[in-house]
């Protein structure tokens, strides 16, 4: 059981800055995120795209912003629980008992949901029968590549994941790479490599094809692919891999008794608390009149929510407003030596 003042759900820029604000006022926190790294949408959707509207930062990429936020919260030694999704919240007297998908448990005074538009999950094939094979012969990510040795693999997608795995697996497996158009979104060098391998007969590239159906008994045996112009090919496959990026799903948040409107959680603008006492929501996931889905708004919301958490974490103490320029306590928490 991890005991801390506040649990932050979501390690995007808003959640990270909220951790900073909690640290400044002397509260401890831990952060859970479903992705394998911090940064949220900034890292997952646009790590290389420049952002121009962070106050006092004329231009930075999603990755730079994330790294700077991580640097900013370093003094607080915030513990991260990555690859974990919060599944269950239970009120336990004045505190919350929280459980994640991986069985990690927390005992906290307050919860801040900074979950963006939900947790990132892989996008799946539109073909219904795929569900039946998911996890046994159809995958959206690879955990153990050794199972593909000497097998026939059909990979769908045109981004870096699809290209990189096609190239790598072509060394040990028979690989079919299927993509809906001639262009690819992955790195140009990988596209050239795939085309070379195709010319050398070390990989079969099918462009302008999409999945039509999969068939097999317990495991996939073959997959049918359909050309833009309607022609259908059946290719033998032991495994099917789909790499269509990630999509955001609200997931278990829907079951926590919060007022939810159009995939967002309603909050008050005084401290960004939801209709449930002790649960706050900030960033893209919260809604209130005038809400802007900007990172800078998330920072403001996090600062107020952190202060809102104080009365739950330290009910017998009064929070005094202080500036980091002059507050000795804040500077000590930041580890500043004078």
């Amino acid at each position: 059981m991890n005991k801390t003042d506040v649990l932050i759900i979501g390690a995007g820029p808003t959640g990270l800055f909220c951790a900073h604000q909690l640290g400044i006022i002397g509260l401890s926190c831990e952060i859970v995120d479903n992705l394998d790294k911090a940064g949220g949408q900034c890292i997952e959707l646009y790590p290389d795209k420049p952002i121009y509207d962070i106050p006092a930062v004329p231009e930075c990429t999603g990755e730079e912003l994330t790294n700077n936020l991580l640097k900013q919260i370093k003094p607080f030694n915030v513990k991260f629980h990555l690859n974990e999704r919060v599944e269950e919240l239970k009120k336990n007297q004045n505190r919350w008992h929280v459980k994640t998908s991986g069985g990690v448990e927390f005992d906290v005074a307050a919860i801040v949901i900074a979950g963006g538009v939900g947790s990132f999950e892989p996008r799946k094939f539109p073909v219904k029968e795929c569900e039946k094979f998911e996890g046994n012969s159809l995958f959206y990510s690879i955990k153990d590549k050794s199972i593909f040795k000497d097998k026939t693999i059909s990979i769908f997608g045109g981004g870096d994941s699809a290209l990189d795995w096609a190239i790598e697996l072509s060394n040990v497996s028979k690989v079919n790479l299927i993509h809906r158009r001639d262009g690819f979104s992955g790195a140009e060098a990988s596209v050239q490599k795939v085309k070379e391998l195709n010319d050398q007969g070390k990989l079969n590239l099918f462009t302008k094809y999409q999945m039509d159906s999969v068939s097999g008994d317990k495991k996939i045996e073959s997959v049918k692919i359909k050309h833009d112009e309607g022609e259908i090919k059946e290719i033998k496959s032991d495994y099917v891999l789909g790499f269509f990026g990630l999509i955001m799903q609200l997931g278990p948040i829907l079951d926590w008794g919060l007022n939810i409107n159009k995939k967002t959680v309603e909050v008050n603008t005084e401290n960004f608390e939801t209709n449930v006492q002790g649960i706050f929501a900030i960033g893209d996931i919260c809604s209130y009149p005038g809400k802007l889905k900007l990172i800078l708004s998330g920072f403001h919301e996090g600062a107020l929510a952190a202060r809102g958490c104080f009365k739950y974490a330290k009910p017998d103490e009064k929070l005094r407003f202080e500036f980091t320029t002059t507050s000795k306590a804040a500077q000590e928490r930041l580890g500043i030596k004078k």
């Binding site: 959707l45 539109p126 045109g158 158009r181 262009g183 979104s185 999409q210 269509f244 990026g245 999509i247």
Partner: protein, 106 residues
């Protein structure tokens, strides 16, 4: 105002007035037309505002920018007439535009 018609997957037709300068995505969101998620808020970063454009309108639309086709690779059941509605800015030329909203966005 420009008239845009959205055909939703439940076979309903919604014809609404959308202010010039907004996107076809925003027109759907403001009018509570179901089936457009627009998770990223119009940043061409998520492919959850995917629509199928009625064939006769395809040539009248602004060309796809770099990146839109890449995102469409991720969309649910993309077709040749697929577009991201956040990239379609409403103008007089698009008066009467019709789009179909897919059965789901991901």
């Amino acid at each position: 105002m420009v008239k845009i018609t959205y055909h939703t997957h439940d076979n309903k037709t919604h014809t609404v007035d959308v202010q010039k300068g907004l996107t076809v995505m925003e027109g759907a969101i403001q009018n509570d037309i179901p089936g457009i998620d627009a998770d990223c808020g119009g940043g061409m970063a998520c492919a959850t505002c995917h629509v199928y454009v009625k064939e006769e309108w395809l040539d009248k639309l602004p060309a796809k920018e770099d990146g839109e086709e890449d995102m469409l690779d991720m969309a649910f059941e993309p077709k040749n007439n697929s577009r991201l509605s956040c990239q379609l800015i409403v103008s007089d030329e698009l008066d009467g535009l019709e789009v179909n909203i897919p059965s789901k966005q991901g």
